[in-house]
């Protein structure tokens, strides 16, 4: 005999493991045992196989790998004796799961054992099948199980019934085979068979409409009768629990009746009496009785309406809710959530108690209660409820704050009766738990603030106060920084004072202090710091006395390792230093953000597109081919003067500002060429699309108040760089302008021209003009060769002329070297450069391009930027 395999007994091994003082010792013991077992396996040792498997199971429970023992289970199952099979099946269920291929090998043994003459072996096989069978095994062995539903011993019938449940869940098509046998189980007297039979019928009804009809017609009455018998049965010691005869059977019968009664008035009628009896007569001082009541309430709530019964049910829940046992209160809250759709009024009556449960020290109860409160809120009770919740927010556990905050914000947003209340509550939440507030929640707050013009002063002062006490809450800081940037002068001058406010004195430098604190906090993230920089830029204009100090703060970030901050810092300091003349126009207050668009986008982006489209737009910063152009996107609104911010709705601005593009291409509705929302991402990101004409008119006005032009011409100047040329003379250039205003629908003279395309004026500023000529290589429709021609109509020569271009991901761009870097004055010459563009989405998406031109005039750097979306179609 093998010297290892005689080894230790199971008991000794367990002792040895328990005697281990350290994990290392335990590992050593296990290693030794496993080695012995492996040796025994390879010697095909028979005598100790069952002992070895028992050891393996113990080792498995300790968390060590035991896959090498899987085949031993099969061998034991294939053995003839009961003891071997018993341990073999146990090992099979413990060491294997239904996904393992090895399992297929056991099907044959199972089949034999299901037909075995020893009923205990049949029982073992049924048990294993019921616990781990896969769909294939279910198909193979269903006939055996079906036959065993009529086995002489009730203990096999009950096992077969539960096994059938597993089979019909795996293969619902098999349901009808079990119908008759299942129905006959309902007539039995043995409780085990009844419990499992009722369960099987319930599950049959769930997978098969036919079965439901069948049982509803044939069994509703007899089940009501059976429940009546069970409820009224005399004391049965074998099944008695806390004075109730077999609560498990009670519950299963109630559940079955629920399935039968749902959606069927006649069946529901039949069970009314017995449900009333159960609801009124069941003892509720023990858990078993409460479990029955609980099930009964659920059945009453689910079957067809009977107002009398429902009152009874709600009363039971009310009693549960005031119970001192936490378990009972928990299930009461759970069930009230279901009851709220049935009888909201009745649930409202328990509001005070439920609100108390939100403050319970049991996390499970708190969570249930909070969800219930969330469903209870309506227009009339929102103010007191939110007040309570916010008060509780101050004292609640840290780990509950996140959930609580999310719910409060959601309630406040949904039910706020007026803006000032909304702003007040949000500020309270932000100062209490700002770190838990999600980004879109405070984005929404900013949109609301921006729209409440009469509350700007009030809000910025409240935020100033809140900042003093709660500067550790990130999102509060962000909102405060944004508001101080926008409405700083209102803070200082106490503009728009409301009666309810206490006056405060804030100097200009106090306001700058706040931003400086925020920007220098270690905990501030990139978003906050970036927002601070913008706020500072805005304040530098509004508070001339602090301009010097602001510039010093901004300059400090020039060396920031974060590219975003570095760029902002450099660009902003140059605006402060060199562009005094345009600065005030540049940092005008942000136009009112469009509430409807923002909320529409928020709502729209939720169900329709989900994560994929978000991910797509996320990639955008990378999709721009030239890295140099990429940062422009974020800065678009502030640093480029010929492409002002409000070319699209405010929501976009906010997104751009934060470098997040949640927005869909909703604003592109006019662009017939833009396919589905969210796909034409570049346009969206550049926010140039085609905003509703009205809104751009108004925003254009806001942006350029100094100009006396009519708003229409402002619009033209702003929204289409090429419109000037249209005003000029050349008739060919009228088309692009039309194009910009009407979207892409206007017809260009493309048709019939084969592979030739009209030239366009791609860009035109005061003096600089770029023409594009197109040509295509036959046989390669995706590729386009663009000949760019630059000309300069100003009296000055442009030197160090550099043209850069960037395209979205679906395009590939190759720039050839330009013909020169000096552009002669007064149109006396030009530079040409060829570009090759490959459109991977040819025919689906039009070309788009973003360009930047840098040159020197009299030694002074000049930068011009723009985007071209008036390319001919079909390129």
């Amino acid at each position: 005999m093998n010297p290892f395999s005689s080894g230790t007994r199971l008991r000794d091994m367990i002792r040895a493991v328990r005697a281990c003082k350290t994990a290392a010792e335990e590992r050593a013991v296990i290693r030794k045992e496993c080695a012995a077992i492996r040796a025994a396996i390879s010697e095909n040792d028979q005598d100790y196989r069952h002992r070895n498997l028992a050891k393996l199971m113990f080792i498995h429970m300790l968390g060590y790998p035991t896959h090498f023992g899987q085949m031993e289970c099969l061998k034991l199952i294939a053995a003839a004796g009961f003891p071997e099979k018993r341990i073999g099946y146990l090992g099979l269920m413990l060491l294997l799961d239904e996904r393992q291929e090895v399992l297929m090998l056991v099907t044959n043994s199972l089949k034999q054992d299901l037909n075995h003459s020893n009923q205990y072996i049949v029982g073992l096989a049924l048990c294993a099948l019921g616990n781990i069978c896969s769909a294939e095994m279910a198909r193979d062995l269903a006939p055996e199980v079906e036959r065993l539903l009529q086995f002489r011993d009730p203990n096999i019938r009950k096992k077969a019934a539960l096994c059938s449940i597993r089979i019909i869940k795996k293969v619902p098509d098999l349901a009808e085979n079990f119908l008759n046998a299942a129905a006959s189980l309902l007539k039995e007297k043995h409780h085990g068979v009844l419990i499992t039979g009722v369960q099987l019928c319930t599950d049959l009804c769930r997978v098969s409409e036919e079965a439901l009809e069948y049982f509803r017609k044939k069994c509703t009455e007899s089940m009501v009768k059976l429940l009546k018998e069970v409820v009224n049965s005399p004391y049965m010691p074998e099944y008695d629990i806390a004075g109730i005869a077999d609560p498990f059977l009670h519950i299963r019968l109630l559940r079955f009746l629920r399935v039968l009664g749902q959606g069927d008035a006649d069946a529901s009628d039949l069970m009314n009496d017995i449900l009333a009896q159960v609801a009124t007569k069941t003892e509720s001082n023990k858990n078993a009785g409460n479990a029955i009541l609980y099930e009964c309430v659920e059945t009453i709530m689910s079957i067809e309406d009977n107002s009398g019964l429902r009152v009874l049910a709600i009363n039971i829940l009310g009693r549960f809710l005031s119970n001192r046992d936490n378990n009972i209160r928990y299930v009461a809250l759970n069930m009230l959530m279901k009851a709220i759709t049935v009888d909201g009024q009745a649930v409202q009556r328990h509001r005070v108690t439920i609100l108390e449960c939100v403050k319970d020290n049991d996390a499970s109860i708190r969570k249930r209660a909070l969800e219930l409160v969330y469903l209870l809120v309506n227009d009339t009770n929102v103010m007191p409820l939110v007040k309570e919740l916010i008060e509780y927010l101050e004292v609640s556990d840290q780990d509950f704050k996140g959930e609580l905050t999310a719910k409060i914000c959601s309630i406040v947003e949904k039910f706020s009766p007026e803006k000032i209340w909304y702003i007040d509550q949000m500020l309270k939440v932000l100062s209490e738990a700002g770190n838990f507030v999600k980004a879109e929640v405070w984005h929404a707050l900013i949109v609301v603030i921006s729209n409440a013009s009469d509350l700007h002063g009030y809000t910025v002062r409240s935020l100033y106060r809140a900042f003093q006490t709660s500067s550790e809450q990130e999102s509060l800081v962000q909102v405060a920084v944004w508001c101080i940037g926008e409405y700083g002068e209102m803070l200082v001058n106490n503009v728009g004072m409301l009666n309810i406010e206490d006056p405060i004195t804030v100097t200009e430098s106090d306001a700058v202090d706040i931003i400086e604190i925020a920007i220098k906090r270690h905990s501030s993230d990139l978003t906050t710091q970036a927002m601070c920089l913008i706020a500072l830029l805005k304040l530098s204009c509004r508070f001339p006395s602090c301009s010097q100090r602001i510039q010093e703060i901004i300059v400090q970030l020039k060396g920031s390792l974060l590219l975003e901050l570095q760029q902002r810092s450099i660009e902003f300091s140059s605006i402060i230093e060199k562009h005094q003349n345009i600065r005030s126009t540049l940092v005008e207050r942000m136009p009112v953000l469009d509430e409807a668009t923002y909320s529409g986008k928020r709502a729209g982006s939720l169900p329709a597109t989900g994560p994929t489209s978000n991910a797509a737009s996320l990639n955008l910063p990378n999709g721009v081919a030239k890295p140099s152009a990429a940062p422009l996107i974020d800065l678009l609104d502030l640093s480029s003067d010929d492409v002002p911010a409000p070319s699209s709705s405010g929501g976009d601005f906010l997104q751009d500002l934060l470098g997040v593009d949640l927005s869909q291409a909703a604003s592109l509705s006019g662009t017939s060429q833009a396919p589905k929302s969210g796909t034409d991402v570049l346009l969206d990101l550049l926010s140039i699309g085609s905003p509703p004409a009205q809104s751009s008119t108004s925003t254009a006005d806001i942006l350029s108040p100094g100009q006396d032009n009519t708003s229409v011409s402002t619009l033209q100047r702003i929204s289409s760089p090429s419109s000037l040329s249209a005003q000029g003379s050349s008739p060919a250039q009228a088309a692009p302008m039309m194009d910009l205003l009407d979207g892409f629908s206007s017809s260009l003279p493309v048709a019939g021209n084969g592979l030739t395309y009209p030239s366009i004026v791609a860009f035109e500023s005061n003096s600089l003009r770029i023409n594009f000529d197109f040509s295509k290589t036959p046989g390669n429709p995706q590729a386009t060769l663009i000949q760019a021609k630059f000309s300069n109509s100003s009296p000055n020569v442009y030197t160090d002329f550099i043209f850069q271009a960037a395209v979205p991901k679906f395009l590939q761009l190759h720039l050839d070297p330009a013909s020169g870097n000096t552009l002669p004055a007064s149109g006396n010459g030009s530079i040409t450069q060829s570009l090759r563009v490959t459109n991977n989405q040819h025919g689906k998406k039009p070309l788009v391009m973003r360009i930047r031109i840098a040159y020197k005039v009299n030694g002074k750097d000049t930068l011009e930027e723009g985007q071209i979306n008036n390319f001919p179609r079909d390129l």
Binding site: F58, F82, P83, N131, E238, N287, E298, A439, L618, V660
Partner: protein, 206 residues
């Protein structure tokens, strides 16, 4: 740009998780209004797994009625011992976990845990746990943790007579005890026979 990208990703995932919660909320609301549909779709009141964990976090019994890979099993056990063992004594016996509910009850040094769906009857499962404990108690004669360590297979056999496919199989403690006793005696008889035979072989080969 890297930074901006990573930041957006963070914000985005936050908004995604929020979408998830909204969707699940919508689902739940829909389920309430159309219970029947929900019932048809859900697996319907089964116990997904049974765990016995000692106060020190040692696993004493695991039984899986829904498919979990070995890896998931380890993870579930680790996660749940963290949640359950840290709960205070007077709190309710239910923990919501990954969209399921864990019903647990502590008996001396052992926690008996069962995992069920959201809509199942928590109180009944609590009763089932007690039912199991009573049967164990009757079988071992005032059961203690050591009994379950050294005779873990017996605990499994008893559980297999009580639950099958995640459903309750027998509500009579007496019946379970009788069935277990009958099978134990089958094993005993087989053992005795094996001893007799090996003795006979031993004598014959002497």
């Amino acid at each position: 740009m890297e930074v901006v990208k990573s930041m957006s990703q963070k914000t985005l995932s936050a908004s995604e998780s929020d979408i998830g919660s909204v969707v699940s909320m919508v689902d739940r609301m829909a389920g309430m209004m159309d219970c029947k549909k929900a019932l048809l779709e859900s697996g319907g009141d089964i116990i997904h797994f049974v765990l016995l964990i000692s106060r020190q976090g040692k696993v004493r019994l695991t039984k899986w009625y829904s498919p979990y890979s070995q890896k998931e099993r380890t993870k579930v056990i680790r996660e749940l011992s963290g949640v359950i063992l840290t709960r205070g004594p007077k709190l309710c016996n239910f923990v919501e976990w990954r969209g399921y509910k864990i019903i647990y009850k502590r008996y001396a040094s052992l926690y008996f845990c069962m995992c069920i769906d959201q809509d199942d009857n928590e109180l009944e499962v609590l009763e089932m746990i007690h039912h199991y404990v009573e049967i164990l108690d009757r079988y071992f004669g005032s059961v203690c943790e050591l009994d379950l360590i050294f005779n873990f297979h017996k605990a499994y056999y008893i559980l297999d007579e009580l639950l099958l496919a995640g459903e309750l199989q027998e509500s009579s403690k007496k019946t379970v005890a009788r069935l277990i006793a009958a099978q134990d005696s089958l094993v005993e008889t087989a053992k005795e026979q094996a001893t007799i035979i090996s003795n006979m072989i031993g004598q014959a080969t002497k």
